[in-house]
């Protein structure tokens, strides 16, 4: 079950919104595809991202995956705990394994994203 108040992208990022702060991570589906995560590359505080710009990368033993920004904004926090415990992404992808917090530049960016029920339908479609 995906958190019902989160937004999702087709690239399997999620966004949790609190005021004008967007917390961003990758979905449970994405972490299962990646396998055991061993490294995370995080962006610097203060960096600005447009929609779909690469925020960083997540590396598992078998694959490298880019994380794309679902919304535009400025990085106000990066989850440094992921540097010492990258496996958190596999263990708690929707909670403790948040990747960055952005101060949103344009909240209307959220309109282009899927809510949980649509994301779940989207995943079912991928399975065929």
């Amino acid at each position: 079950m995906y958190p019902q108040n989160y937004y999702f992208t087709k690239d399997h990022e999620w966004v949790a919104v609190d005021g004008d702060t967007a917390t961003i991570g990758i979905s449970d589906f994405a972490q299962k595809q990646l396998g055991d995560v061993v490294y995370v590359e995080l962006p610097e505080i203060g960096k600005h991202f447009n929609v779909h710009q690469t925020i960083g990368t997540i590396e598992s033993v078998k694959a490298v995956s880019e994380v794309f920004s679902p919304v535009s904004g400025e990085v106000v926090e990066a989850n440094a705990a992921l540097n010492s415990a990258p496996e958190t992404i596999n263990q708690d992808p929707h909670g403790k394994a948040w990747i960055i917090k952005l101060k949103m530049k344009n909240p209307a960016d959220l309109k282009a994203l899927m809510k949980a029920p649509d994301y779940e339908k989207f995943l079912e479609g991928l399975a065929h």
């Binding site: 299962k32 396998g35 055991d36 061993v38 490294y39 590396e59 598992s60 033993v61 078998k62 490298v64």
Partner: protein, 362 residues
């Protein structure tokens, strides 16, 4: 896609399946790292039925094997196995393989899944006037690999074959879980272990019985993902990555499979010349000195200049760092030599290290 005879067993265990060389295979069950460590600490069970098996039979079986392989098959008596290559006339690799001596007129060649059809076509093209029959028996065989320090305690209760006295690289015929099998003391992980071959059309009990016996001892099923990280830690080459039709056994640090004195074989004259002139490059092991993972085909820089690509590279679950294999110019192959690997937009420092990365301590 082709399926092995254990396909339903993997799916029942919830394995993540992928397509590998036309086969529907398990890449992981519980997770690559957990499976890798289970094999190193207890035991792992692998479905390797996708591998290829070629029968070479007839009056000239030995002479034919001697022609296509640089190693000396005359040293094999029935029940013995040797690692070797299938070489082109240029001394480069068509594939690497194991040769099993069943009896003096019957040799079993075990080859990579990726190359089975290519290898069979190649040996057939080399038949010439040798009095041999060549049979691609791959689809009739199922094969499991049981690897790890608990391999004997897991397998012995299931078989009449006395396992402990078996030397490495030998095999016997016997019963496993009531099925007639060929059991060899071989493997691709750097652990002790056995490979179990069956021609039974219904070999499922082998998988179930071994898993059931082994679970209390820590045995886990292991997929193709961990198979690759295990073999790389043990510095075992992979065709397509570390060896191919542009590399010779001398360059990839397997000179010992080339027995020049045994007589003529495909590629011998090229290898003699290469040995006399000296190598220009050699396959060595490396580890990354900074954070990151060096993967196959990532660019390599020596003294700042481009110098080829990583051939094998991964994150080692045991050592928790990035390790791999690379061909470097011969002057740069000493342990400790530093070079750089391009990882996305950065050049990351790496150093040549001794191999194998992992050697078992029992």
């Amino acid at each position: 896609m082709k399926q092995t005879r254990f396909n339903a067993h993997h799916r029942r265990l919830g394995a993540r399946m992928i397509e590998f060389c036309g086969w529907d295979m398990p890449v992981e069950y519980k997770g690559l790292i957990e499976e890798h460590l289970a094999c190193r600490q207890a035991a792992g069970l692998f479905d390797v039925s996708h591998m290829g098996e070629i029968h070479v039979t007839g009056k000239d079986a030995l002479a034919f094997v001697q022609h296509i392989s640089p190693n000396d098959a005359a040293r094999l008596s029935p029940g013995m196995i040797q690692y070797t290559g299938l070489l082109t006339s240029k001394g480069t690799y068509v594939d690497d393989m194991l040769v099993y001596c069943i009896h003096p007129e019957f040799y079993l060649l075990v080859v990579n899944a990726a190359n089975t059809d290519k290898d069979f076509a190649y040996v057939v093209s080399q038949k010439g006037r040798f009095a041999v029959q060549l049979d691609n028996a791959s689809d009739r065989y199922s094969q499991l690999a049981l690897q790890g320090r608990q391999a004997i305690p897991v397998l012995q209760p299931l078989t009449d074959v006395p396992l402990a006295p078996m030397h490495s690289f030998t095999f016997v015929f016997g019963q496993v879980a009531g099925k007639e099998c060929l059991v060899s003391r071989t493997g691709y992980t750097g652990e002790d272990g056995f490979e179990i071959y069956s021609l039974d059309p219904d070999p499922g009990i082998l998988w179930d019985a071994i898993l059931e016996k082994g679970a209390p001892l820590g045995l886990q099923p292991v997929g193709l993902g961990a198979r690759d990280t295990l073999r790389l830690e043990a510095k075992l080459p992979l065709y397509g990555n570390d060896i191919d039709d542009t590399t010779t056994p001398l360059e990839c640090d397997f000179a010992w499979i080339v027995k020049f004195k045994k007589g003529d074989f495909l590629g011998r004259d090229v290898l003699v010349r290469q040995k006399e002139q000296g190598l220009t490059r050699k396959l060595v092991g490396f580890e990354l000195l900074d954070k990151g993972i060096a993967r196959p085909h990532y660019p390599v820089y020596v003294d700042g200049a481009p110098a080829g690509q990583v051939s094998s590279g991964t994150f080692s679950p045991l050592f928790r760092k990035s390790i791999g294999l690379v061909y470097l110019p011969i002057a740069k192959t000493a342990v400790g030599t530093e070079f750089e690997i391009g990882i996305r937009d950065k050049k990351v420092k790496a150093a040549v290290v001794p191999t194998p990365f992992y050697k078992r301590n029992y």
